[in-house]
Symmetry: C2
Subunit: 318 residues, 2 copies
């Protein structure tokens, strides 16, 4: 372990906007980063990765260590997974292939319980963690990423060979430390469920409404009716979290609301999925939180209505 604590080998599984941005930031901070790609492999192998960041300026990683099959990658200490939650189970073979026996696998994904489909497919020796990214980032083309604002990552432990709370937190701290070493704000969360519910306070209103109303954050924050919708949806997420035993700090929803007001116009990833006729992440972001709240005796009618609207749209779109 001692050598990897200082400079762990990092693998990025799925080099889209999230995987690409954090991978480039880590590589520029001196970490040994390796990128697994599919359709974009040849473009990135030829031209590397470019991040056009409004915060950090233009960042280029060229050459990038790009791979089209996991078999060619070095064994990694940390694997960052930035793909869609809809493909998690299918990633198990690549993750297992690229992981050292005691590697940490960090799912940088939104939604609840996104680890549950993947966990049974991984060896028990692998640590599984979740990371919630508060960031405005989009993929413009193969290896081309635009970073508009923010970047913080909240990390929590999901499951793995370590049971002891303190030992788990040490691993979570190590993960947060990776990001901080790359100049990225990162917090170690004692409870991953808490972190996931907290992030849903943003994703549930903005992801869904961007698709339903065909609007970015600027338009949504400029209209009295959509502002009311957002606040009502946020309040329901807080209520659902509470029913499930996770108290969201008072004022947190208001903080996200006014933070979004100050953000540049941002079109959430769900809108881009809709636009490119990819399946929407409705299971992770809507169905599971609704089911968890319902199991705790809590109805969330506005979220449920939004979920049904999105279900209709998604089915027609794909």
């Amino acid at each position: 372990m001692s050598e990897t604590v200082s400079k762990p080998v990092v693998g990025i599984i799925g080099t889209g906007a999230i995987g690409g941005f954090y991978g480039v930031m880590l590589a520029r901070a001196g970490f040994d980063v390796h990128f697994l790609l599919r359709s974009e492999f040849s473009a990135v192998a030829e031209r590397g990765l470019q991040v056009n960041s409004a915060v950090h300026g233009p960042l280029t990683l060229d050459p990038a260590n790009a791979y089209c099959v996991a078999e060619d990658m070095p064994r990694c200490d940390w694997l960052l997974v930035g793909t869609k939650t809809t493909s998690n189970a299918g990633l198990a073979p690549a993750i297992i292939q690229a992981a050292k026996p005691d590697a940490k696998v960090l799912l940088l994904q939104n939604g609840l319980d996104v680890e549950d489909n993947l966990r049974p497919l991984l060896p028990d020796s692998l640590h599984l963690l979740g990371g919630l990214c508060l960031i405005c980032v989009n993929r413009d083309g193969p290896g081309q990423i635009t970073h508009q604002a923010l970047g913080a990552v909240n990390v929590g432990y999901h499951s793995g060979p370590v049971i002891d709370e303190a030992a788990r937190m040490a691993i979570v701290e190590e993960g947060a430390g990776l990001f901080r070493a790359a100049g990225i704000d990162s917090q170690a969360m004692a409870n991953l469920h808490q972190a996931r519910w907290q992030k849903l306070v943003w994703n549930i209103p903005y992801n869904g409404l961007s698709v339903l109303l065909g609007a970015g954050t600027a338009a949504l924050m400029a209209d009295a009716d959509s502002r009311t919708s957002i606040q009502a949806l946020m309040a329901e997420v807080v209520q659902g979290a509470k029913a499930c035993g996770y108290e969201i700090a008072p004022g947190y929803a208001e903080y996200l609301f006014s933070m979004t007001e100050k953000m540049p116009d941002y079109w959430p990833s769900m809108y881009h999925d809709f636009l490119h006729k990819r399946p929407l992440e409705l299971e992770a972001i809507y169905a599971r939180p609704l089911a968890a709240a319902k199991a705790a005796g809590c109805e969330l009618p506005r979220i449920e209505a939004l979920y049904r609207h999105l279900g209709f749209i998604d089915r027609r779109n794909t």
Copy 2:
């Protein structure tokens, strides 16, 4: 009165799909019907009115008694108003001009309290009634109407010189009798509010979802998620009506739901308003029922969410 009871003079204010269809049906039944039009006057004066009805076959009224100003119309016993609720107040001068002193003004419009903007602008001697049309009808062009299915009109008394309940019901029966004489199913309703709430059980889900999801009834009835949405919205209307003191008969929502399943694919008028960038009837169909329910201590979260979504869409569209 005796002469007008047998063959009253009928004026149609706003000869769109609704006014045109019922006007043609009444004229063909032998009533003396006069049509007030604006932009479509010359087309109808030249070529009359054509109703392409899937129920009654092709119906032509040529010549139609068409007018472009109310001053040219004969004084009418009954005035049927088929315009948008958004323009009610502006119609008062034309209605007063075309009405006999004791005329009955029947608003063939959906929504709650749509008479309230108009009533103070009318002389006390005029009877004001409301009519709820369960019909699939659309305007295809000037004087061109497609009638797909159904047609029943439920009539109720709003306000006027008659206070006595029995005398009011006699006028309502007279109105229902007009439609029945033209082969149209029509029911005299003892309570107009009850009739309006009852009709909202259909309009609140289908009108709004057609705009929000860009879908006609066939698509909405074919998808599990939109079916769930419709049923949940219907249940909230029933709940709101109950809170306001109007009990919707058990099974009525289910009846409308399965009736819609058997209908041909229908795109509600709100969708056509959206398509042609006309203001949506959100006040009559959503805001007033929500306010009435809220005043009675009843929250309708799904309807409120839908209303907010439509408010955003409407503001961007017009």
